[in-house]
Amino acid sequence: MIATQLPILQVILPLIMAPIALIVRSPRTVWMLTLLVTWITFCISLTLLMQVLEGGTIVYRIGGWAAPWGIEYVLDKVGAFVLVIVSAIGSIVMTYARRSVEAEIQEDRIYLFYTMFLLCLTGLLGIVITGDVFNLFVFLEISSLSSYVMISLGKDRRALTAAYRYLIMGTLGATFYIIGVGMMYMMTGTLNMADLAVLIPSIADSRTIQTAMAFLTVGVCLKLALFPLHLWLPNAYTYAPSVVTAFLAATATKVAVYVLIRIVFTLFGDVNILEGLGVQNILMALAIVAMFAASIMAIYQDNMKRLFAYSSVAQIGYIILGLSFASQVGVAAGIVHLFNHAIIKCAIFMGLGCIALRVGGVSIKNMYGLGYRMPWTMAAIVIGGLGLIGIPMTVGFVSKWYLVRAAFEQDMWIIAALIVLSSLLAIVYVWRLVEAAYLKSAPQDAAPISEAPLSMLLSLWILALASIYFGVDATTTMNIALDSADTLLNGGLQ
């Protein structure tokens, strides 16, 4: 019995735990409860992925109402894969969180952090699993609102303005999305994704649907921080508490990308908007500009968190580029980079969190000599950095391999060259950190510091090793990605 209820359990477990956290309030207990919930959701999502891989798409009806009237939860391969990413990152971040949160968030607000974390997790998981466009909006706002709160918990007062700006931009994005949904509903009378996918092709030429498409895309691109719409991201990542940055960097933008995938390949799957409406060129151009502009911005940053925040913008460019090829290999590259980048970025931001805990800051000057003072932390960050560059045997290599291949397949030689060129920029900013950590010596008056606590190191290294494992044996992830790309390109949810 329980096996059929898993899709909903996935979402309501963190949802139920959130108010309990609000009542319990003791930081330690709340942390343990949250930890428990996140690991359970992780196990559930793995089971779901197995089920989907074996038996195909899972459909779950809330309240027993059938599809066009009730809300359906639908899980296909892409969904299940993203679900695993989100819940895995959630559980690992939680394992890591306790010490870092104690150090970076005021004690009387810690319970608030965990509550918001749980709500955010609910929202993100909900977005992925729902098969209803409006329900998706609700989950989107649940996750966004809670992430605004989490960001504002940062110690620096600039966290507040960062959260405020994110709120304004995020709300604009969500409202754009809901306008698009409204227009689609006006034309089709349904909110169910599968239904929409069937109904849209016949009316795809109408201006309303095209406008809806425009609103949806722009709204979602705001959320996923595609290049010119990324302005909220660097500050938000820089001033948020380390745990929050690690979690959001690895999940929030990724889930937004997932929404874009759903829109482009599921809702408008039979319309081929990418080529038909010139969306492909726009996305591709923006993605490439993102890869370069953001990488160059990253090179000039002194604050490491900000540096890697810009790098995130660049990496999102890679993902979008992959999707915009609209070929099986390209989309698979995008999907697998979603996974790979989540691992890498989460590891790096966790590492920076360890440094913030011990050294007190993450400016480039704080990094001096850290290679010797915090060898394990620094080594993990460097592994992450190598992944960003795309060195073989790290996950970054796999995604880049397929991206370049997708470009070659369509004879886009210049784009293939641009992809590798931009990854050379990654060498520059990663190596700034490496040189600071290993070739500069710590200032004379630096206080002696010890390695980060075990719980933090452990989660950090789980991710670092994962980034190597999935780089050496990428068959699992790649097969899932190729499979899901295939399904997406051939009709999506069915």
């Binding site: 190598l386 560059i389 795309g390 060195i391 073989p392 045997m393 796999v398 880049k400 391999w401 397929y402 370049v404 291949r405 070659f408 397949e409 293939a416 060259a417 590798v420 060129l421 990854s423 050379l424 060498i427 190596w431 040189e435 290993y438 070739l439 010596s441 050496v472 044996d473 990428a474 068959t475 790649m478 097969n479 190729l482």
Partner: protein, 485 residues
């Protein structure tokens, strides 16, 4: 032991060695014993593969699938075995040398040094035995990364700058060009396995093949083809054992080894010689040989002069490959081995001089031969081998290359080889002459020094002796190299 196990062991031994070295860091003697023992075991493992390969066997080991349809495979073939043999053999001698050098110069972070060294050797083994381009590329990049800490060992600003150039050029070329070439090859050929006769024949237009060849040749930055050669002089900031084993043997040879391998097993040289797309390679490598030699003439720093000499000698291999005649390919394979022994001797000598006399410039070496007869004697032998004078091994490989060039009527190549031999003589012989026959310009207050520590002297004597021995017994390598064609 089955062949698969041997290959596995050859790859894993240096890594185990690295771990053990890391844990024995507190006891220098134990640490260095482990290094030596690891090196010896590795060489024995590699040597034990020799009979099988000579008999025509191609033992192979599949590790697993990395990407769907793309496996990590190791296959031992003659060229790889030559490379593995020299690298592992010279590692033993180099370790001996390192012990003397690192202790005498009180270098810091010695444990890190030995660990990185062992990892570098593991990567070199990976390159040597790689069974497809993907596997090779993985270890190629690993080699770049694990030698970076060795290059920047000193931790000074100069080392940092050298490290930047080193890493910058090697990663830029490999990620920017080689990577593209590999992906493209995979797309065109559907496989990346090294196959005798090549995998590209008839699969793409001549233009594409030409572009691919260019991507490969310039992408293999470790072959130091101009204009991507500057990393090699930059890497000379490293301690001398690093320059000796890595930047005269393991790393640079990995580069030219890859070049030969790509030409023979990816393009297939029959296919390539029929196309004529490789002519430009001849010009570029010829130019590199001459230009690097001329630059070497003007270097006063001994290690830099050696570095430019290396650049020029590496292009011999590329040139020999580009001639695309059977004999020249044999010559190329031989030159990989022969140059290794000669150049490591020269570097050993340079390090020996630095250790004993703290001299780094050519102009300071007047009369040093009388104080350090063993060192300078070995240096002279190495220099002769570089020029290609009998009875040193350098003569043999050049002989084969020249023969190949004559066979295919590449007079340009012949001219390049002859001129460069003169240039080599021009920048090596004055050193030897000054060392033995010029008067020492003793400055007041300079301490009297004699030979370098014993282990250093032993090491360089052995390699010098090997250089001469190889002239008389080149069969070991020639027989292997002949299997290539």
């Amino acid at each position: 032991m089955s062949m698969e196990t041997t290959i596995q062991a050859a790859l894993v031994t240096p890594l185990i060695g690295a771990v053990l070295i890391a844990f024995s860091g507190r006891w220098p003697n134990l640490r260095e014993t482990i290094t030596l023992v690891t090196a010896a075991i590795l060489f024995m493992l590699v040597a034990s593969l020799y009979p099988e390969v000579m008999a025509g066997g191609r033992p192979s080991l599949v590790i697993g699938e990395m990407l769907p349809g793309l496996r990590i495979v190791f296959t031992v073939e003659p060229l790889g075995l030559i490379f593995a043999c020299i690298a592992s053999f010279l590692w033993i001698i180099n370790s001996l040398y390192s012990i003397g050098y690192m202790r005498a110069n009180n270098e810091k972070n010695q444990t890190r040094f030995y660990v990185c060294f062992a990892i570098a050797l593991a990567s070199a083994m990976g390159i040597a035995f790689a069974g497809n381009m993907m596997t090779l590329f993985i270890f190629y990049e690993a080699l770049t990364l694990c030698t970076y800490p060795l290059v920047t060992h000193a931790g000074t600003d100069k080392a940092k700058k050298g490290g930047r150039i080193y890493l910058g050029i090697l990663l830029t070329t490999s990620i920017g060009l080689l990577f593209l070439a590999i992906v493209w090859t995979w797309l065109i050929a559907g496989t990346l396995d090294f196959t005798p006769g090549g995998i590209l024949e008839g699969k793409a237009s001549n233009l594409v093949i030409g572009i691919l060849l260019a991507l490969y040749m310039f992408g293999i930055g470790k072959a130091a083809l101009m204009p991507f050669h500057r990393w090699l002089p930059a890497a000379m900031v490293a301690p001398t054992p690093v320059s000796a084993l890595l930047h005269a043997v393991a790393v640079v040879k990995a580069g030219v080894f890859t070049v030969v391998k790509v030409v023979v097993y990816i393009f297939g040289f029959d296919f390539l010689s029929g196309l004529g797309s490789a002519d430009w390679l001849l010009y570029i490598s010829g130019f590199t040989i001459l230009a690097a030699s001329i630059v070497a003439l003007r270097q006063d720093n001994l290690k830099r002069r050696l570095a430019y000499s290396t650049i020029s000698q590496l292009s011999y291999v590329v040139l020999a490959t580009a001639i695309l005649a059977p004999l020249s390919i044999v010559g190329a394979a031989l030159h990989i081995a022969v140059h290794a022994f000669g150049k490591i001797t020269l570097f050993f000598a340079a390090g020996s001089i630095y250790t004993a006399a703290h001299k780094t410039e050519v102009s300071q070496l007047d009369g040093i031969g009388r104080r350090m007869p063993w060192t300078m004697g070995a240096f002279a032998i190495g220099a002769l081998s570089m020029i290609g004078v009998p009875p040193t091994a350098g003569f043999i490989s050049k002989w084969y290359i020249l023969n190949g060039a004559f066979d295919s009527g590449q007079m340009l190549a012949v001219a390049v080889i002859v001129i460069s031999a003169l240039l080599n003589a021009g920048y090596f012989l004055p050193i030897v002459y000054a060392a033995f026959f010029k008067k020492e310009n003793e400055k007041p207050g300079q301490d009297n020094h004699g030979e370098a520590p014993l282990s250093i002297v032993i090491a360089l004597t052995v390699t010098a002796a090997m250089t001469i021995l190889l002239f008389f017994f080149p069969g070991v390598f020639i027989d292997l190299a002949r299997q290539l064609v």
